[in-house]
Symmetry: C2
Subunit: 303 residues, 2 copies
């Protein structure tokens, strides 16, 4: 299967006795995302068909106790292998980084002028999470522009006061970045975290349009934070797929800020005090969080 110990060898009803991490509803969505991604990276219909058939077999055998980003990791590894392109989203990541830099000054002026800039910066950082080509392949830059222009006036739901309170008690923060483009908007929130010591973690290898070290450098986050990669090419943060060094940093962090729905899917049971900053992108997470699709959510982990 190519997923190592993760796939099961057959149909196993035991999955139903355990907390289900991947909903049945995620499965048609995996299949659709596979086709969308295959078409995005290649015009070759032979590749599309081969990938679709492989991913159908993989989903048929999937362990539903594991979170959805694990399947996305598998899908995109196969897309890279079959297409011979080690980072099919490279150009689009560059483009969204540039778009974000264009939009940054106007956002920064409004945040700097606000009486309470922290929640404004949180809004901008969450709104930037719209730049997610996993959930929505055909994202238009005009759509990003419009969303960012509206976001500072959008409702922000969740544990906003707890977030501000938690920040008062720490002098270091581990910041788990999500997508390219979005990572430029993360500057606005990281500025509010200073002079605390901030470590920004990006992915260890290409996965959809998630930010890599090159994107963190294009966002010039090295000016304000320590940069690390997590050693993994999965969306979100699958801790047992991350490097030992990253896991140590994660375990020792007094406070974690985790961007995006995939981090929520992979870390929501983690013991650390994590603040998830995300846009709700699907009906299953909407039901889980109790907020509609599209909502800007700041949610503290239960742990």
């Amino acid at each position: 299967m190519g997923l190592g110990g993760v796939m099961m060898t057959g149909f196993d009803l035991r999955t139903l006795d355990l907390p289900v991490k991947t909903y049945f509803d995620c499965i048609p969505c995996f299949v659709r995302q596979t086709l969308d991604a295959a078409r995005m990276v290649s015009d070759d219909t032979v590749l599309h068909e081969r990938l679709m058939r492989e991913i159908l077999v993989a989903t048929a055998d999937m362990d539903l106790r594991r979170p959805p980003p694990l399947m996305a990791q598998h899908i995109h590894r196969r897309i890279r292998e079959l297409s011979g392109n080690d980072d099919p989203y490279r150009e689009i990541k560059r483009r969204f980084n540039r778009t974000a830099w264009d939009l940054l000054p106007a956002l920064k002026s409004r945040i700097d002028a606000a009486a309470d800039p922290l929640p404004m910066a949180v809004r901008a950082a969450i709104a930037g999470n719209i730049i997610d080509l996993g959930a929505k392949t055909n994202l238009e830059e005009a759509h990003v522009r419009e969303a960012m222009e509206r976001c500072l006036d959008a409702p922000l739901v969740g544990d906003v006061d707890q977030f501000a309170a938690a920040l008062r008690h720490v002098d270091t923060v581990l910041y788990l970045a999500d997508n390219a483009g979005e990572i430029v908007f993360d500057r606005l929130l990281i500025e509010q975290l200073l002079p605390r010591r901030v470590t920004v973690a990006v992915k260890g290898g290409p996965i959809i349009n998630d930010a890599l070290m090159a994107d963190a450098l294009e966002a010039r986050l090295d000016e304000m934070a320590e940069l690390v990669d997590n050693g993994s090419d999965a969306p979100g943060t699958i801790l047992d797929d991350c490097s030992a060094e990253f896991r140590r940093q994660f375990d020792e962090a007094p406070m974690v800020i985790a961007k995006g729905q995939a981090n929520y899917e992979t870390l929501s049971n983690a013991p650390a005090p994590i603040f998830f900053l995300l846009q709700v992108k699907c009906p299953m997470i909407a039901a889980d969080i109790g907020q509609p699709v599209g909502a800007l959510v700041l949610k503290r982990s239960e742990g």
Copy 2:
């Protein structure tokens, strides 16, 4: 695989050298329809999971040269087997037949009063095709009411004049019914076909909410037509799955009226002069026909 000679034993690129009947885009739709249908007929999540895993394996191995209704036939056979319910849609079919009878008199008055009743009756017969629980599981009766009330004023696109002209040259018509409920509205069009000899064909066994002989009798079509069943439990008309007697009737029919998208998917290459009366229900058929989703279409076969 349970699909006899239809499924292939492995991945086969030869499918790509032939006209593709099932689009790649149909596959995520099969998976979603499987989950929707499983939930509609049972609350048992063990059944949902087992069915999903089976259908993922079946789609992974599917012959894309065959039309989508073949996979729907397989999905719903397995739903009936796993649930032990030989017709999970029985009650809902009764209910939609009653709804249609309630709406019939108002439609009939308007059609009878029209200067040219034939296209009005065609509109009503096509609009009734909204009652399709394959494409849309959670169809509300209020939605049907509203659609039927609007339909006589809705645009009707396609080969309307050719349809009227063709009728002038035949004295018998084979009418392929589609869904329960809808089949009551078919009375309005069949009345316009009289005094020609009309044969109405229903499905030979339960498949989603497609009309069976019981539904034709609830629609009291025996008052105005000969009734036959096609011997098949597939959506649409997969001729090699139909009875020899039905195939003979089909081959000898000087004119065929075929209701619904599944008949278009299964018969669009047939040599007979077929007039397809359908609502466009998905983007793939919309692209094929050149009309938007929701359009009321009367289309003559190419043959």
